[in-house]
Amino acid sequence: MADVAAPLRRWSYGSVSDKIADIVLARPTHWLWFAAFGAASLGTVAFVGAIGWLFVRGIGIWGVNIPTAWGFAIANFVWWIGIGHAGTFISAILLLLRQRWRTSINRFAEAMTLFAAGIAGIFPILHLGRPWFFYWLVPYPNVMELWPQWRSALVWDIFAISTYLIVSLLFWYVGLVPDLATLRDRAASRAKRIVYGLLALGWRGEARHWARFETVYLLLAGLATPLVVSVHSVVSLDFAIDIVPGYHSTVFPPYFVAGALFSGFAMVLTLAIPLRHFFRLHDFITDRHLENAAKVLLACGWVVAYGYFIETFTAFYSGDEFEIAMVKDRLLGFYGPVYWTVLACNVIAPQILWWRPARRSAWALFAVSLVVNLGMWLERVMIVVQSMHHDFLPSAWGNFIPTVWDWITFFGSIGFFAFLFLLFVRALPTISIFEMRELVMEEKKP
């Protein structure tokens, strides 16, 4: 395969540093950025507003009920946390696998991870009947002498999510420090120099520092690798440890992790393509990058498809009347259309990526990535809601109909994500500068 870093031969240490740093420091902001930022801000306001109303009135403003006591909140949580996974996958696993093409996309992918995981973390709290007591899920000595109930998958979640957030943050920040030093030394205004200076912790690139830096960076990657697998496995246990058909399934952990990478890579593409377009980063994020991402997308798509298949198969194979009834309802019941849309988005649509030109066309990829994002969200909704609405006792069956507040909260969260990402693009280097310098050096080697 042709070297993804080939175009870098045109670049030097200095020019590459300036190019990327100037996106933050110098380059006049594109009007489209302001347009997007305005829209995102509106979304954020809606998000905050919906949360405020939720706290005033209570969970009742959503469509949840008995039997379907979980609705969009949990689906959104699973979806967002899944999106996060691609970032860690790219920066950690691909690093261990010495995939050089990761270098130019890991930084913003990690940022995406942080924002996605952060937003995901909000939903379980919103979803509580009494959110102001969320801290009871955390162990701390208290006058009630009570502790969290360690057998609950929700407690596992708390630990998994917070660990994931903190480790991702550390990984991301450690990687940023040398680049912050660059920004500190190149910033024109004093204010910027101070801010970046503080964040850079006085980094000066001493050889021993670099040595320790590289060790810890590698070890963090090593830790993040099992972590990223564990997080969505734990999330899947929220469902898998239940006894309700549609939740109670051993295939969930791998199936959820694959789904996470699937949606994650879709989101990476959704972000990378406009990014490289507006900031002219074609030499760093090459078509090869997009193509590789597309291949991962295709692969994950197949794992997910396998998940769908095996779920249905085991239901009938098990001969369990409740499992079979659940699957029949999933295919043909009230939520049937959702299931078929999911198949169309997550199984059919990605197949176009077998075709090389599609993999190399930015706009085709962009379209596919959007479709997959939608499909994966619908899948989460389907798992959370459809499994519940027809469980054991027909007398208790009922439907979940989302209310306007469900929708505002969901779209608001997307707005908030865009809001954070747009700020990041303007405040920090979207591509790891020091690692690009490394690549430049390697390219210069005879």
């Binding site: 300036d18 002498e145 109930q149 360690w150 670099w210 830096f213």
Partner: protein, 171 residues
């Protein structure tokens, strides 16, 4: 005035590496090399021996894992044993996820904290920043600094390595 050390500026990683090696060969004990990106072997060339980071990460991991499991066992089986779903107070299989997560968490935090501590960071004030050209150290220039050496000889020596320039680093 007292000097922190004598510093020379180079254009490439190779020169810096070579310079460091020869400086060591010339018997300079206290060498510092600055580069805009990590360079294979440079640290060793400046006399870097032991890298404790890995050990710290391991220790953190063990502490997190053992501590995590103990916390669960203590609270669920000892402090307030409560019948939850008919499962025994010490139902170890369900204690594993949290144990794992805490292993990773503490290991990671220990690793980063350890790295910063060993590097003496954060350190916002450092003499090398006094050198005007040093701001390129984070862009495209490579610096070698000889410390606790006879200033005259050091200038002499560094000058011989065809640097862009040689400066005194005021303390």
């Amino acid at each position: 005035m007292s000097v922190y050390g004598i510093m020379a500026e180079f254009t490439g990683a190779e020169q810096l590496l070579a310079a460091a090696r020869s400086a060591r060969a010339a018997g300079y004990g206290d060498i510092e090399a600055y580069s805009p990106f990590p360079i294979e072997g440079l640290a060793e060339a400046t006399g870097f021996r032991r890298n404790w980071v890995a050990a710290i990460v391991l220790a953190g991991g063990l502490a997190g894992g053992i501590g995590g499991y103990f916390m669960q066992w203590y609270s669920a089986a000892l402090s307030y044993p409560i019948n939850s779903g008919g499962k025994p107070p010490h139902s170890w299989p369900e204690f594993i996820p949290v144990t794992f997560e805490l292993t990773v968490l503490v290991a990671a935090i220990a690793g980063v904290a350890g790295m910063l501590a060993l590097n003496g960071l954060p350190r916002l004030y450092h003499p090398v920043f006094n050198v005007r050209e040093f701001d390129l150290a984070s862009r495209n220039r490579f610096f070698l600094c000889l410390r606790h050496a006879d200033a005259e000889a050091a200038r002499e020596f560094l000058g011989g390595l065809s640097p862009l320039g040689v400066w005194d680093v005021p303390a």
